[in-house]
């Protein structure tokens, strides 16, 4: 869609630059609004899904009264939060307290930019896409610290400190495991990475199947990503049984909602990175090569991409409702003493593989073997 | 060892400081002098034949009609499986008894509770504060002549 409008801009190339730029800005604004509505819808739906999944796993039902199948639950929650009184504690640092939700939400939202939803549906093709996402989401830790410090509440401060320590620590294994994947397509551009994974029935050239090291890298990435978004078993920053509600203990109503939405937004982002880098992004399994009309292909691609993401999110929820949580020192230990060294060696291994087999994956090698 | 023997051991060791032996209670109880309680307790705990390793319970009792207060220590031994109760009689108007916290650390809270509810003061206690009731509560509620308060803070009781 965005590509489509890009085409239109191409067509009006002859028109004055001013109009071109106006149109271009308009396009981005519109697409950002579309992405925003999608993100909000997704975030709302994710909270509903979370409760449903929890319901399934816990042998109960979950929301089913509010609207059909409880589907309107998140609407009700959202509107209610809108109607809640807004409390800024008297002894809080008001500015920091107020700014924090802005940054948290915006950072999580801005990370949506370089995502590539299908061949032509994307907002922008950044050639530092992956790095951009990592950088933007690292801002979140700063914002959390602001909110936590600003609240002047001990639980918040604990939660904030823990959150920051956790988020920054786990960034290292995340980056390292992503690097193990990035050296294969040799690009940071999400679209390039996805295009690299085409072929092989739309499955076998996924980077995760490229070599054993990328497989391991995915598991490291996923573990660290769960920690990055503060979910069980790494939810110590908002550990209900220890820290009440963690860094957003003092936040009410809408301000709290932004923290909440950002959390689900981040889940989407980390899953999207995983889907892009390891699972072939919008590559449609099996029927990728089949000829079909453009619109159908695009739709399918979007659907496939989102499906991959939602499966990963489901796994995150599944894990959340299964495992107990780690203690803060164990969390650090896991990160620094297990994930980081392993990720380092994994990276070295992956690069050796790339050099030995000239960047070919297991599938390529095997098919080459069998063909000859 | 049954209670009788324990009583005999005790009265040999602490002649004159053991006041009375009550066999009809269950477990049998030995009434002792209040200032001897720490010695007796540590003896009971240390002595290998007795080995009262744990203090099961400590209760205060208000004998209003006799103008007395009682502190009752229920002791038990895991190894020998015997039990005994020690009783200390106190002056109701000025109940004082040394703490046995040093013997059984678990006594700490029991003594605080007895203090809280009966106003029995345990001398040398490390942290004698109210435990169950709020700090600004008035009176010793478990005493028989306690009058219920009418108002607390801003509301009616």
């Amino acid at each position: 869609m965005i590509e489509l409008i890009n085409n239109i801009i191409g067509n009006i190339h002859s028109s004055t630059p001013m109009i071109r730029w106006l149109v271009y800005v308009m396009v981005i604004v519109i697409s950002s609004v579309i992405v925003l509505s999608f993100a909000l819808l997704y975030e709302g739906f994710a909270t509903y899904a979370e409760r449903k999944v929890a319901g399934d796993i816990q042998a109960r039902i979950g929301p089913n009264r509010v609207g059909p199948y409880g589907l309107l639950q998140f609407v009700a929650d959202g509107v209610k939060l809108l109607l809640k009184e807004d409390i800024i504690p008297f002894y809080a640092d008001k500015w920091l307290f107020i700014i924090a939700p802005y940054i948290v939400f915006t950072a999580s939202f801005a990370a949506f930019v370089p995502l590539s939803y299908s061949d032509h549906v994307y907002v922008a093709n950044m050639n530092v896409g992956v790095l951009y996402i990592i950088a933007v989401s690292s801002v979140v830790s700063m914002a959390i610290l602001m909110g936590a410090w600003g609240s002047n509440n001990k639980w918040s401060l604990f939660g904030g400190m823990r959150a920051v320590a956790q988020i920054v620590s786990y960034e290292i294994p995340i980056i390292l495991s992503l690097l193990a994947a990035i050296i294969i397509p040799s690009s940071l551009d999400m679209k390039d990475i996805i295009l690299y994974q085409s072929g092989g029935l739309g499955i076998f050239r996924w980077i995760i199947f490229n070599n054993p090291f990328t497989l391991l890298a995915f598991f490291i990435y996923f573990t660290a990503a769960i920690a990055e978004v503060n979910r069980t078993p790494f939810d110590i920053p908002e550990a209900e049984s220890e820290l009440v509600a963690g860094y957003h203990t003092e936040y009410t109503g809408m301000r709290f909602a932004f923290f909440f939405m950002a959390e689900y937004g981040d889940m989407f982002i980390v899953s999207a990175i995983a889907a892009t880098l390891f699972f072939g992004g919008w590559q449609i399994p099996f029927i990728n090569g089949v000829a079909m009309p453009l619109w159908l292909r695009e739709t399918l691609q979007v659907v496939v991409f989102l499906t991959k993401i939602f499966v990963l999110i489901y796994v995150m929820m599944w894990i959340r409702w299964t495992l107990p949580r780690l203690r803060v020192d164990q969390l650090m230990e896991l990160c620094w003493k297990y994930l980081t060294p392993i990720a380092f060696f994994d990276l070295i291994g992956a690069s050796v593989w790339v050099l030995l087999f000239n960047g070919k994956g297991v599938y390529d090698i095997l098919s080459a073997l069998f063909v000859h | 060892m049954d209670a009788k023997q324990i009583y005999q051991t005790l009265s040999e060791k602490f002649t004159g400081r053991i006041k009375q032996f009550q066999e009809n209670t269950h477990p049998a109880s030995v009434v002792v002098e209040s200032d001897a309680i720490v010695d007796i307790c540590s003896f009971l705990k240390r002595e290998t034949e007795l080995e009262f390793t744990s203090m099961i319970s400590l209760s205060g009792v208000d004998l209003k009609d006799q103008g007395k207060m009682l502190v009752i220590y229920h002791l038990g031994s895991i190894r020998h499986k015997h039990k005994i109760a020690l009783k200390v009689e106190l002056d109701r108007n000025n109940p004082h008894v040394p703490t046995v916290e040093k013997v059984w650390p678990g006594a700490n809270w029991y003594e605080r509770e007895a203090y809280d509810l009966y106003g029995i003061v345990f001398d040398n206690h490390s942290d004698l504060r109210r435990i169950l009731l709020p700090d600004d509560w008035e009176g010793w509620p478990m005493r028989k002549d306690y009058v219920y308060p009418k108002r607390y803070h801003t509301w009616d009781v």
Partner: protein
């Protein structure tokens, strides 16, 4: 006071809006994780698999800042009463209170002979719904919550009172 709160004139549009707002309030009653005594166990059971309060969109929050509903489940002693008051105060409006069980209603078992128990939470905070029982069955609690929902629907949010 919110700028629009209780300001709008009564007409079809605004009453519908109000209805919608009330609907959202009633459909998303997040209750505070606050249980003192035996009734708290039944409160837990209500939230658990068999009765599943989540069906009504009611989930628990640990902090009063994010809760709408305080279910006073259990005995409130004088020592606790100040804290209850404080917790209630720290909840953002609109907020509701359900007194669950005899203790919260009137002091229940401790009405007569206890010096330490508050004789009904309504002495310190306003109560919307009283749920009798000692402890009330989870069904009874759910019924109480549904009663509260009915009451929320009758209220006015933006329309002039």
């Amino acid at each position: 006071m919110g700028v629009l709160e209780d300001r709008l004139p009564e007409n079809i549009l605004f009453t519908t809006v109000d209805k919608f707002l009330n609907w959202s309030k009633k459909s998303s009653l997040w209750y505070m994780l606050f249980a003192t005594a035996c009734c708290g166990i039944e409160l837990m059971q209500t939230g658990a698999s068999r009765y599943d309060l989540d069906r009504f969109g009611a989930v628990f929050r640990a902090t009063p800042r994010q809760s709408d509903l305080m279910i006073v489940a259990g005995t409130i002693t004088h020592k606790m009463a100040d804290r209850v008051k404080k917790l209630y105060a720290q909840m953002p409006s609109p907020k509701y209170v359900i007194a669950m069980g005899s203790c919260a209603n009137t002091g229940g078992p401790f009405y007569k002979d206890s010096y330490a128990v508050l004789k009904g939470v309504d002495r310190i905070i306003p109560v919307d719904v009283y749920v009798p029982g000692c402890p009330p069955k989870p069904e009874a609690l759910i019924e109480g919550i549904m009663k509260l929902q009915e009451r929320i629907m009758e209220k006015k949010t933006l329309v002039k009172k």
